[in-house]
Subunit: 263 residues, 2 copies
């Protein structure tokens, strides 16, 4: 079993030192956790006025702060964290990294940009990574990416056992008693692909914006197995590789049953 | 607003006359209903021993019984109903029809076969129809078809305002308080495509098989707006065309935001 923890941080825009310290503390406190997931743009906050503001706090994966995170990772823990990336090309991306104590395992630039992100970031052009780790094969995408079922399918078909999703879900209306719509979408992505989906949202009001605070861990069967609690974390044990066999019963297979000839 | 009614019938296998009468009665009782949806294989039942048994009750859309259904349709009602089809090619399909008082509007052969259906039916080779009606553009698929997000996306991108889904959902385990997994998948299909999804399941134990009895009407926002009640129907008013504009906010569009270059 894999010990999963999503730490639903509240970054503060314009306070990168505070955010950095908060990430570092979350990493240091993750002893015994196999997979620690932090939110989208955890190092910076989300509600940028413009591209210049995002650029002012953007980092490369070679940044000293990232080196500090890597150095702080307890043995055997893998961490996912969102941050604004300054690319080699001088462009600012909404990115996420997967790293452990040995260094950065994967870096990903969000492909589907939500709302005013379109005025702040450039969309990535590389598909979501699937990284073979000791926990299983981990896919990595960011927030709105998850709402494209073609994309979650693609990651699953490239072998992801679990999809790790740092998010910032702006608060949306929902009927009493319902989960955030993004969680319903994540459950369907899990169920239709037999793939765990692990979403870490954020908290804290930022420039008037509230959030769903919908941090949720979903099994490969599509069921919610952990939601964020009063401590600000969603935590559980999960067999990340339990959905690797895509057969369902003697006659069906989630991928082989696909009929691209009619889609 | 469109008045939608899903009538969750309990067909009896081996009693086609009973099933025919039950369908006819449901159609006759649908005055004032704009869209009446009946289950998959409503004319025959589901738990066939083999292909020969299905063949013995299979019909063509030109069957006299279908003519009786058409004749019974109240003015302005559109009906969806599942049945076993005997094709011109002599092959037996798991099909559904859309019809009104003027005749059959569309016929569809299920493309994704579930479980032992694979030993009974041949899978269809034509994609789900999208039919322009006075209620809006109606897509039509059957049960397990719905669990392929590529397929629901395809129907939405071909213009379906609402997806009509006759189903037979065999009872599956689910955690206390959760909806059937197929409903969660339908909610995600609705939300990610801004398309209403209308699922009519069945009831009644047949050869030991129970059903989810998960009949549900879902809005284009992905919310459940009607579930089956004690009368055996799910019924509501719904604006079927409310999700036709696929923009969400000033910067996003559900279809134009897709990035096939990375899928």
């Amino acid at each position: 079993m894999t010990r999963v923890r999503c730490r639903q941080l509240a970054p503060r825009i314009g306070e990168p030192d505070y955010n950095h310290a908060q990430i570092l503390e979350s990493i240091r406190a993750s002893g015994g956790v196999d997979l620690l997931v932090l939110p989208e743009l955890a190092s910076s906050g989300y509600m940028f006025h413009d591209e210049a503001e995002a650029r002012s706090v953007a980092m490369t994966p070679a940044d000293d702060r990232v080196a500090e995170w890597v150095e702080a990772v307890p043995q055997d823990t893998i961490v996912a964290c969102g941050y604004p990336e300054l690319g080699d090309d001088g462009v600012v991306y909404n990115s996420a990294m997967l790293f452990d104590g040995s260094g950065v395992l994967a870096n990903y630039r969000k492909v589907h940009l939500w709302h005013e992100e379109n005025t702040v970031f450039r969309a990535g052009d590389e598909r979501a990574p699937v990284v073979d780790t000791r926990l299983g094969r981990l896919g990595l995408m960011v927030c709105y990416d998850l709402e494209f079922p073609e994309y979650t399918r693609n990651v699953a078909m490239r072998g992801a056992d679990a999809l790790v999703v740092p998010t910032n879900w702006p608060l949306v209306e929902r009927p009493e008693g319902e989960r955030p719509p993004e969680v319903v979408i994540a459950q369907a992505a899990a169920r239709t692909n037999k793939m765990a989906v692990i979403c870490c949202d954020r908290s804290g009001v930022e420039r008037g914006q509230e959030w769903n605070e919908g941090t949720t861990v979903i099994s490969h069967e599509g069921w919610v197995v952990a939601e964020v609690d009063a401590s600000g974390a969603a935590e559980c044990d999960l067999d990340l590789q339990a959905g690797r066999d895509k057969r369902i019963g003697p006659h069906n297979h989630l991928f082989e049953d696909r009929r691209p000839d009619v889609y």
